[in-house]
Structure formats: C-alpha cells, structure tokens
C-alpha cells in the first residue's frame, strides 16, 4: 500500500515515527542512540557509502524531528552531510560539443575554467567554474547545458544557492518556507523542522483532556490524503492519539471568505491572506505591496481564534499539508491562537508510532464547513468562495476580477504587474502548484487530488457560506 511518493519521505517518516514512539513512552532520552541502528540495521549500506554515514545522517534527521536548530529562525534546514554527496552539476559540456576552432566559450569565461582536450573538445574545470553561464550563452551549438541542482530548480524564489563547501544553503531573507526544496531534493538533504515532540507533550500534559482540551484543526486537503482509509477513520485515529475533538479549518475558510469579500469591496484591491508562503513572499520580496495584503487571519488562525474564545484554556494544533504554516504559527500574532503545527506526513508517523491501524477503526464524522470553505484546498477555490460570499452578502454588484495564481511563479508574475497594468482586483496567491494539495507536507501528490477535494466539498452538510457560519454569528462567546 503506497503511503508516500518517494523513499526520501519514507525515511523521514521512519525517523519521525521512532522519535515519537519513544516520546510517548518517556524513553526518548534513554534510547535516543538506539534510533539510528533501528532505522539503518546494516550490515550493508542501502543509500550511501557506508552504514556509518547513513546513521550519521539519521542522527541529523532526528535533530530536525526534535525541533531542529533553535538558533536558526527558519523552519526549513539543510542537512549538510546529506547534501555533501550531491553531484556538483551546474554547467556541463555535452556530447554536442563539436570541437570547433573559435572557442567562444573559452573567450567568454572570465575564470579561465575552460580547457580543451586533444580533439579540441571543451571541458570545464569545476575547481575554477563559478556557474555564471557565460560559456553556455556563447556556444553557437548550444552544447553547454545547465544541470541545475533539483533544490535550486525547485526554489522559484531563488533562496537556495551553493555554499563555499558546495553544500546547499538557504538565504533566510528570501525563503518563504514553502518546502518545495524539501520535497524535491532527491537525497532528502533539506528538511522541515518538526514539532511532534511539542504536540506529544501537549497531549500528555492534558491528562486525557482533563487539565485542558487539545483540539485538532484539520485542513481540507486531508480529503486527498490517507486515500486508502475513510476520512471518518482518520478522524477516529486523530482522537485515538489523544485529541479531544477535530474541527475543520475549512470553517475558518468560510469565515475568511465572508470577511475578505467585504474587505475587498471596501478597499477595491486585495491580495489574499490564506497562504502563509505567499504572504511571506510579499513581505520579503515585494515590501511595497504589504498594504494590500488582506487583514484577515489565515483560515486556520481564524478558526483557532474562535475555538479559544469558546474554550479559553484549550490548545489548538493545526494539521495540514504545509511547511510554511510552521513558520506562520511562530509569529506573534498567530502564536496566540495556534499552539503547534503538524503535517500529514507527521500525522502518519504519529499514527504508526502508536501502532494505530486506522483502517480498522470505526468512522467518526467531520462536518463543520461549507463546500466553499472546503475548496480552499485547491487553486481557484478561494476566488470561487469570495465570489459566492459577495453574492450571499448582497454585494454582487461589486465586480470581482480574480487573478488566480497557481504556484509561486504565477504569484511573482502577478505581483510584478500590480500598480503597472490592470490585472484584476483580487490576487489569489497559492505558493504551491495546485494549491494546498500540492503542499510539501502531503503524503502523496496526485492528479486526482483536485477531484477528491471537490468531491469532499460537495459532501458538506452546509451548502452555503452563510449557513456554515451562521452558528458562529448567532452565538456570542
């Protein structure tokens, strides 16, 4: 049964699972050193040169599973020793090189890195090359190709570069914590920090939800995950882990759609506030546009705020597809509402750390939100919801001109045009391609995920945004 897209995710999952297993039993600090051997039993290496290196990398993954480097403000970290062996690719001379006489490539190279063999074929001295690409531009045959590293290729905001030691390095002033590099690195050398220990601690200290109650707020993209189990069984599983109850983040999305559409009619132009990576991108790379970001909280924070109003001592944990959410909840404004964040990968690890067979559980229910709140999980859903919310509030005369940006590259294109050309009046920005269902914390990413979200939306008991949020409006906590 396929749980993950790649072996990298599987390895990360095993580390998370073992760390969690020991944390539940209070044996983590006694048995810490056993974990690398459990995961890499040997005697033959399976992924690296030797089992000792494999185990050393597992130790680094354990550090991240236990919260990562506290001195690094970023929630995404490079595991240097795992990156070490990644081939230094970049510009390479291919077989297309004809060994010409002109040697324009050599002339273009400022670092004297190009040399020729006895057939006049060019080669690049990688100890001198700085990957500027001038040779590639100069070659009339297009014989010099750029084999960019997968992490750099994945990072559309150009936050990843090569350090002096040739390992990947992340520029925190540009990184938006979307996790694209985490998912794309074929060696698993970049990982998101995990707060599973924090979550286990919150659950244990609640003493079966008697001291305080622990709420799980689950993102609607869950409908495209755990596909071999029924959603109701996953909800039962979350409660088995020790959560008091489970609430849909999509209800927060309904609340946001309602308020955001109103805000749009007042301001005339907005960029969406749902995707934390998109919001971070504007703050870091387009600071002049910060004033246009919707003042609404994200759907998760909105519903968490409401839960805390109904139950002030409660603890709220967001479970979703998103690594950027981990960065979001650490910010002052969100910290008040969200106590911790888990990804779907981490949820799977928590289930298995307790040997919970979710397929054998009975089906619980999860139904708080409307169709519109639920489709926030896929690109275009937010704009559909805002359109509906305008209609339901009698504001349909306001002409909504949404700009649906699917992935951070499209976000960039739209943001570059703001104030210069008329592109529309509502920028829906989703950093991940496909929307939240493309998030780096998803177990699997598939073609059918969008259909799963739409289907889940259709199944909602409430058909309109107004009816879903009417209870909240009718009661004054």
């Amino acid at each position: 049964m396929k749980k993950f897209d790649t072996q990298v995710q599987y390895l990360k999952y095993k580390v998370l699972r073992e760390v969690a297993r020991k944390a539940w039993n209070d044996t983590l600090y006694d048995k810490l050193l056993d974990i690398p051997k459990i995961i890499i039993p040997g005697p033959e290496p399976t992924t690296r040169c030797c089992i000792y290196k494999e185990r050393a990398i597992v130790e680094e993954r354990m550090k991240l599973a236990m919260g990562g480097n506290p001195n690094n403000p970023n929630v995404i970290e490079v595991i240097n020793i795992a990156c070490d062996e990644c081939p230094v690719a970049g510009y390479e001379i291919t077989d297309v090189c004809r060994g010409c006489l002109a040697h324009r490539c050599q002339d273009a190279c400022k670092k004297d890195a190009i040399y020729f063999d006895h057939n006049q074929k060019a080669h690049i001295d990688k100890t001198k090359c700085v990957e500027c690409g001038k040779c590639s531009e100069a070659c009339p045959y297009g014989a010099i190709a750029n084999f960019k590293r997968p992490c750099e290729k994945a990072c559309k905001v150009k936050a990843i570069s090569m350090s002096e030691t040739k390992a990947a390095q992340i520029d925190n002033s540009k990184c938006i914590a979307c996790g694209a590099c985490v998912y794309q690195c074929p060696f698993g050398a970049i990982m998101d920090k995990s707060y599973i220990l924090n979550v286990i601690d919150l659950i244990k200290k609640s003493q079966n939800n008697e001291k305080y109650k622990v709420y799980a707020v689950v993102a609607p993209s869950i409908s495209s995950q755990f596909i071999h189990a029924k959603l109701g069984q996953v909800i039962s599983g979350i409660k088995e882990l020790g959560f008091f109850t489970v609430v849909e983040a999509a209800l927060g999305a309904d609340m946001v759609a309602y308020k955001e559409s109103k805000e749009l009619t007042e301001k005339g132009f907005l960029t969406s506030s749902c995707c934390p990576a998109f919001v971070m991108y504007i703050k870091k790379s387009f600071p002049k546009l910060v004033g246009h970001i919707s003042h609404n909280l994200s759907p998760a924070a909105e519903i968490a705020k409401y839960i805390k109003e109904t139950d002030p001592t409660s603890k709220v944990i967001f479970i979703g597809p998103c690594t950027a959410k981990k960065a979001e909840f650490l910010q002052e404004e969100q910290k008040k509402y969200i106590d911790s964040v888990l990804t779907f990968e981490e949820l799977q690890a928590l289930f298995d750390s307790k040997d919970l067979d979710i397929y054998s559980l009975s089906e619980d229910v999860l139904d708080n939100a409307s169709y519109y709140g639920r489709i926030f999980a896929r690109s275009g859903g937010l704009s559909d919801a805002v359109k509906q919310a305008l209609k339901e509030q009698g504001l349909a005369e306001f002409e909504l001109k949404p700009v649906v940006c699917n992935g951070i590259e499209q976000c960039k294109m739209a943001l570059l045009k703001v104030g210069k050309v008329d592109i529309g009046n509502f920028i829906e920005g989703m950093a991940c391609v496909g929307g939240c269902i493309g998030g780096a914390g998803c177990l699997t990413h598939g073609e059918k995920n969008k259909d799963e979200v739409d289907k889940y939306g259709m199944e909602a008991y409430e058909k309109t945004i107004s009816s879903a949020i009417s209870m909240i409006k009718n009661i004054n906590n």
Partner: protein, 79 residues
C-alpha cells in the same frame, strides 16, 4: 443569568445544531430574554452518541430541532 451552551461540533452539527441555535435565538427574542440568557457555542461536549448536546448552567441535555421548543419552555423559560 442563564448560560446556554450549544454543541456545534461535527456530530451535533449533522443532527441539526444550526437549527437548534436558530430556534433558540428566535425564542430568546420572542420572550425578550436577551438580557437573561447568554447563548454560547462549543465544539464538543463528549456526548456525541445522543442528540444535539446543550448545557444550561452546566446541566447537560440532549435536544433536536423538533424538541427544542419544548426544551426551551421547560428548561429555560420556566426555570
């Protein structure tokens, strides 16, 4: 002052907690009890097997959209 808390968690929602809230809201207005009854919500009372869970000053009841008026008369208006 009576505090009436209605469960709006998934299980109660599917059993009609929205209708229960709307009905209570209507009855509170009708009997002019806005100053005497505080209506609040919560996401689970741990009593999911029964109808829509409602607490009146910490006493737990189970109601439905059909029985809410009777419940209001007995437990809120006449107590």
């Amino acid at each position: 002052m009576k505090k009436v808390v209605v469960c709006i968690g998934s299980s109660c929602h599917l059993k009609g907690s929205r209708q229960v809230v709307e009905e209570l809201q209507r009855l509170i207005s009708q009997y002019d009890l806005k100053e005497e009854v505080e209506l609040a919500g919560t996401f689970c009372m741990g009593n999911c097997q029964n109808g829509v869970s409602v607490k009146v000053n910490d006493a737990l009841f189970s109601v439905s959209p059909q029985t809410v008026e009777e419940f209001f008369m007995k437990e809120i208006l006449n107590k």
